[in-house]
Point group: D2
Chain length 352, copies 4
Amino acid sequence: MFFASDNAGPAHPSVIDAVVAANTGYAAAYGSDPHMETLRTRLRTLFEAPDAAVYLVATGTAANALALATLGQPWQTIFCTPVAHIFEDECNAPEFFSGGTKLTQIAGSDKMDPATLAAVVATQEMRGVHSPQRGPLSLTQATEKGQVYTCDELAALTSVARAHDLPVHMDGARFANALVKLGCSAAEMTWKAGIDAVSFGGTKNGLMGAEAVIFFDPAHAWEFELRRKRAAHLFSKHRYLSAQIAAYLENDLWLRLAADANARATRLAALLQRAGARLTAAPDANMVFAELPRATHAALKSGGAQYHLWSGTLEGDDPAAPLEARFVCDWSLPDAELARFAALLDTVAQPA
Amino acid sequence: MFFASDNAGPAHPSVIDAVVAANTGYAAAYGSDPHMETLRTRLRTLFEAPDAAVYLVATGTAANALALATLGQPWQTIFCTPVAHIFEDECNAPEFFSGGTKLTQIAGSDKMDPATLAAVVATQEMRGVHSPQRGPLSLTQATEKGQVYTCDELAALTSVARAHDLPVHMDGARFANALVKLGCSAAEMTWKAGIDAVSFGGTKNGLMGAEAVIFFDPAHAWEFELRRKRAAHLFSKHRYLSAQIAAYLENDLWLRLAADANARATRLAALLQRAGARLTAAPDANMVFAELPRATHAALKSGGAQYHLWSGTLEGDDPAAPLEARFVCDWSLPDAELARFAALLDTVAQPA
Amino acid sequence: MFFASDNAGPAHPSVIDAVVAANTGYAAAYGSDPHMETLRTRLRTLFEAPDAAVYLVATGTAANALALATLGQPWQTIFCTPVAHIFEDECNAPEFFSGGTKLTQIAGSDKMDPATLAAVVATQEMRGVHSPQRGPLSLTQATEKGQVYTCDELAALTSVARAHDLPVHMDGARFANALVKLGCSAAEMTWKAGIDAVSFGGTKNGLMGAEAVIFFDPAHAWEFELRRKRAAHLFSKHRYLSAQIAAYLENDLWLRLAADANARATRLAALLQRAGARLTAAPDANMVFAELPRATHAALKSGGAQYHLWSGTLEGDDPAAPLEARFVCDWSLPDAELARFAALLDTVAQPA
Amino acid sequence: MFFASDNAGPAHPSVIDAVVAANTGYAAAYGSDPHMETLRTRLRTLFEAPDAAVYLVATGTAANALALATLGQPWQTIFCTPVAHIFEDECNAPEFFSGGTKLTQIAGSDKMDPATLAAVVATQEMRGVHSPQRGPLSLTQATEKGQVYTCDELAALTSVARAHDLPVHMDGARFANALVKLGCSAAEMTWKAGIDAVSFGGTKNGLMGAEAVIFFDPAHAWEFELRRKRAAHLFSKHRYLSAQIAAYLENDLWLRLAADANARATRLAALLQRAGARLTAAPDANMVFAELPRATHAALKSGGAQYHLWSGTLEGDDPAAPLEARFVCDWSLPDAELARFAALLDTVAQPA
């Protein structure tokens, strides 16, 4: 009953097979392999963006930090939510890669509100050269709490940025989970909604470790290549990255894995609600955020369930105190484990 | 009727005289001048800190950014208020000098609250290596809104930092204004209250452009010297900085100038209140933050008063809407100007 | 007949098998996997360094740049040869990771000379705070031109550094090739010879992409972890890195692969010399640097040999002009290809 | 008999007078003072560059590092001589301000040779994305050893840069000394010779501490302003910088001071040569580099002459060993001191 993270599961067998298949003879290094040439075309087609610049890196943090550094300047500030991965979970990687950019929080929730964004952006440069200057907007899709922006919601946010000529980055660590939720095209969820660059994640959805970075305006291409090399994220044996993403796209594997994970999260959310949990975010993708009494958490964890508390700890006086937890369903989660968890829930929780 | 800034006034004649007097013959460059040797001793005595490392730079932003970079590490976050000069007014200088440190806002007011600080610091490293790590606490004394922490208030804040082994920096751009308000010693307001390094400002209080940076622990000395040189803030003809600060300390000039400025602000606050203004911060030092109706601001500015609106603009539908403004009294403000402003206020404002 | 690079070959089948085997169920992320625990112990044993801090990254440039940034300070200069990978081939990665360190060339050859090093180091800080300060020494073993320092040669160089309290880094991209050449222990070639940190390469010798960074003094451990995360080089699905290096060490695979590659280079050097080539560096490891007439290069390349010219180009007036070339033998080079190349050489070259 | 540095002399009385005169009433801060407006026009006229962007800072290192960071990118390398101030004397300031740029030495002498430059630049990007990319060329006029490039020599160097689309920076710490030597216009020595940005020094030639940075292409203006603020080099009481440079230009003070200093250096060179010294660089500006026997140096220093040995030390076995020294004449050097030095030389040195 492992719901701790989608970073801990294995890679899909097809992905491993592709890596094994790529392991033959010599191949041009540093992204000049024929795999990459094919893959670039495939991603451009997928995004309906024939001129897009397409690159691979191995970690999501690299994708985000390199993309943001390329879009912005060190005297600017990046607009993001207070729970954004780039704000909380990257140990200042965006600041490092950009050379000292600030990050400005758009308070409210893990889904950014266009009016709040507009208000913050409007006052950012009040003091001219003394103020950190307005920089990129970064949106996470699906969000850190597993919610999904509709294309209209994305467009409303990107139009605020556009009004100030600010570029927009999408942290798509769970891009596939969002896309299958919306049922729209990759183009609709990105450049048609005003996104300039996307971190197209794969690691959380069945890869060993590979992410694409896509700039819809190829003007950024050479700068990105230099930044990637300088940051030591250009792989010599690049074919093993290319092969992973190629397998990921083959026969819509990526969409099928995400759809499976989302479906499990939907089922898990229902189980939790039936057991009296209060959902603290819409379970749009492959994660469920829910409050349960401290005592219930203790019982679930004793029973073998693995997941992270998002607020509070098991230690505490009040067994009824509601503690928020995160439950993540990765692509590999066996149905039997969900069933086991349902049974465990029945044992330990009182219906609402 | 100039209340726009204490950055715009002249230097005190004694300071200029000292600069003129220093302009004789050859003097060892880069801080090896005899002036500096004397001054170092004088500052150590003033702060009752015989081992302190003492350096001069020419701008307050340099003092802050160099001190913070020396105290912290690039993977850390600096704790400050949302209105801190280092957050709002230095165009990412702290991030630049430190190599990418984050700044974490302790929300609430421009006077930091120890409980809020404790809560934020406690959760900062929740995610281990993924979290920006806890770094220096930076306090502004007097605050950006002209309030002054008591020594006990400072101690309460620094003890939160101390509990996590975090160093504490004081942005003392208006150090003198705070000190004369409290009537305590420089040692009491700094290291005896838990401060590790202070930006000892002078530019806003009668100098041409000179600030001292003082580390009470001399372990930081050589690193600071290298950082200062590398940041191009080591002056070859350093004697002109030394001479300014020496004159500043001579016969308590710095305290007299600050006391004068504070007294004027106190008088100004009374005038504004009498005219119906609502003070939005305690006028502890040389600044008054106050709300007046938009129409009153328009009339004051038409009448020749110069100051900055802190919220809103003169353009707007509602003439009665309260807009916050900042009024700064620098050391050189003539009493006659205050009298003129009082007369103007009488003309344009309705008593509360 | 591929001699272009040891970056272009496949991974050894045992390495791929280990990756496939690791792909089962959930595993703790970010280096907390049990594979890594075992591997850490194994590397400590190999290096006879029970306290060593051991980390994995995916690229050699990351290993070098993170190690050097951890050992040095941004106001220092790193001492290296003019042909060092860190100087010529990393697009300023050391400068980026360190926050602006300089690199000082120790001129002469691709094997550094202790006397030249001593002379340069001695004068580096002649101007006190104005000079870039002395920083880490970085040695490449085997060198960029395929030469191997003896342990005594290493000790002579590191003792120069030690005399100035400078840390020493070894770029071991071809560590195994050097070790099998010397026939000594890993400890003897590193900390017993005065090395503080080593980039223990694997990618060029049969891995997909994995390198270890080892600090013999564990004081650097936590800083390195934060630097690695901040630079986006901490892998969530870290098990795939661990598995590669574990397989690499298993049954001395790494030493066998390096010995094979070295043996082929020895044979290749003999073939080239027989054909009249002048060797420009001792072929101690898996590379041969040799001069051949321009016309011979043209004929070899027409005949299907793939390798890089190190000086000059095929275009040029003088067919007899000697051009230096680099021939690399990777672990996977088939003997038959060497035989084909020998036959080709017989056809195109005149014996000396 | 002070020949140690032109950093140690006083400011010219006219400059001090101007600072005193500027010290009246309130003046707009941060470079918005009326002094600056006038000065900007004056400098544009002087340089025959009506669109030039003109800024002031207080140190030469700030001028150089900010200009170079604005002209280049962090993944590039700056081309300079091995004795350039930016290479040897700024403690990695260019690397810091630029975010990690490398500096590539054009070996040979302190006057750069166009052919050597061309050869180095040509091979800089041999390895594509792996190589540090070609960046700005930085020339020092007058050079570190007091030599002056003719306008043709400058044009020959800048044309190499131009052929690769590289911007060119002039470190003009001793700009005036070079200009009076050449007798040409400021425009001829800069943009007409292919210079894009100049650090227009004043501190070494009679100012307290003020330098201008001039970009002939105003496209760089806003970026420079943000970089200057972020680096804490934007002065609030900017009028004291403006006033210095205004006085410097008034009635050609700057040219007269430089001409005087140069004339003294010419006389000093003759004295030294008469005493048997070998000049090691042409004494084109206000410095003389000369070799004298160790014993002569010892006697001169015992006799009260102050200057720096550039090679070797007084300690040593061979009293006849030639040691290079630097003698600097600043604007304030009294003629009587030169006469005293002449007399001292007569006492201690043997004619050649």
